[in-house]
Amino acid sequence: MAQDKIKVLYIDDEQNNLNGFKATFRFDYTIFIAVNIEQAYEHLQKNAEISVILCDQRMPDKTGVQFFEEMREQYPDPIRMLITGYTDIESVIDAVNRGHIFRYIKKPWTDTDVRSAIEEANKFYVTNSMLAAKNTELQSAYDELGKFAYSVTHDLRGPLLSVIGALDVAKTMDNIAEIREILGMMDAAVKKLDEFIKNTHEYYNLKRGKLVFEEIDFNNIIADTTAIFRIAGRMDNVRYTAHVSQNDVFLSDEISIKIILNNLLSNAFKFQRKTASDKFVDVDIKVENDSAIILVKDNGIGIHESHINNIFTMFYRATSEESGSGFGLYNVKDALTKLNGIIEVDSVVNEGTTFKVTIPGKANGTN
């Protein structure tokens, strides 16, 4: 493909050399030529993808080495090669040693020399670019890990230290009712810890796991997910309705879909207004045109405007109501990114929240 040709910039003060160079290599590479340094900069400015630069050493205003020394500050990525005759060998050795240039090409050059030099230089360029990209990735992984370790320490130690503290207090208690009260609180702390560990597990499943696309039956998934809430008593006093309309086959990753639904439902049950008498959670799932639209609606405490933009950030908790791990919606978002899906949220404080998730079936997805 034309776009994949290596982009080469050649600078020489003799127009004949430029013409000859271009004529020889224009079928193999995309060639930019410059008769002076000013022109060379223009090319570099307009073409960020130039990967190899060849420059003649002897030019009127500056030597090739000087040019390279100066331009690499602004354009450090392209691989620099000097074209020169034997007489300049001293300055060449100096330039190579100081790391300014990748190679030098002897004048008069042969097609084969130039071609092999360009190929080598480009390989070096590609490797460097990949390394740079990997480094950026690694850096962000490290940053995330740092943040992760900090929060995990807190979220794992927090409930444990609470229980240790509570045990200490309980030892001095004689009143059974009081002891029961503190046991209930210890129970909640331990469950919070367990939920956090499960969320961490989900997080790593999402990070490391490969997607497995299979037929998704939303009726089954809803039944599985809600059974857990029912057993845990989380649906007590909440009017719950689920409606699924699925006539088509829908291919997606079941684990991701479950993580999404489980977290959205968990939040809907969790963030209810304690005093409300008509608490409800409605789930509506529609599969049509090869995409699934999931609506999870509650009339709970809602999310304040100022927090809406942050709710998908890891460890962000918009409220101290209830035991949020700061993981749930982050995992939802992460799962959706993998599935190429989107999530929208509509919320009014003290009226409720509706999450709308749209997931393309595999045929439309990235994978």
Partner: protein, 131 residues
Amino acid sequence: MEQTDKLNFIVIDDSKLDCFIAEKIIRNSGKTDTVRSFLQAKEALEYIGVAQPEEDTHTIILVDIQMPVMNGFEFVEAFEALPYDIRKNYTVYVVSSSINDNDLHRVQNYSTVKQFINKPLTSNNLASILE
């Protein structure tokens, strides 16, 4: 703080259990019965801003670090911005599960924070505050 001062406590922690434990321990110490717990630092700050402490009373604030919405550091900064006439009635202690060096250093940089106390709060480390 004068020995003759009557002591009050304010506990700020997003964990209900930790508030409960702190209240129990403070009450068990026999030094005071006035303990107010806040699950949100913002609410505590609002309270401190308008509270009118009785003469000859002093209030000890026990504040957690990692809390949603307003964390312990943000609370201390906001507290430090309050007028001296309000601040002089309080002594702030940070009570946290954090074992992060940055957190520990950061706490030391706040002049209003008297001490960093490791969780869980126990009758022993409360006693060291009350000494």
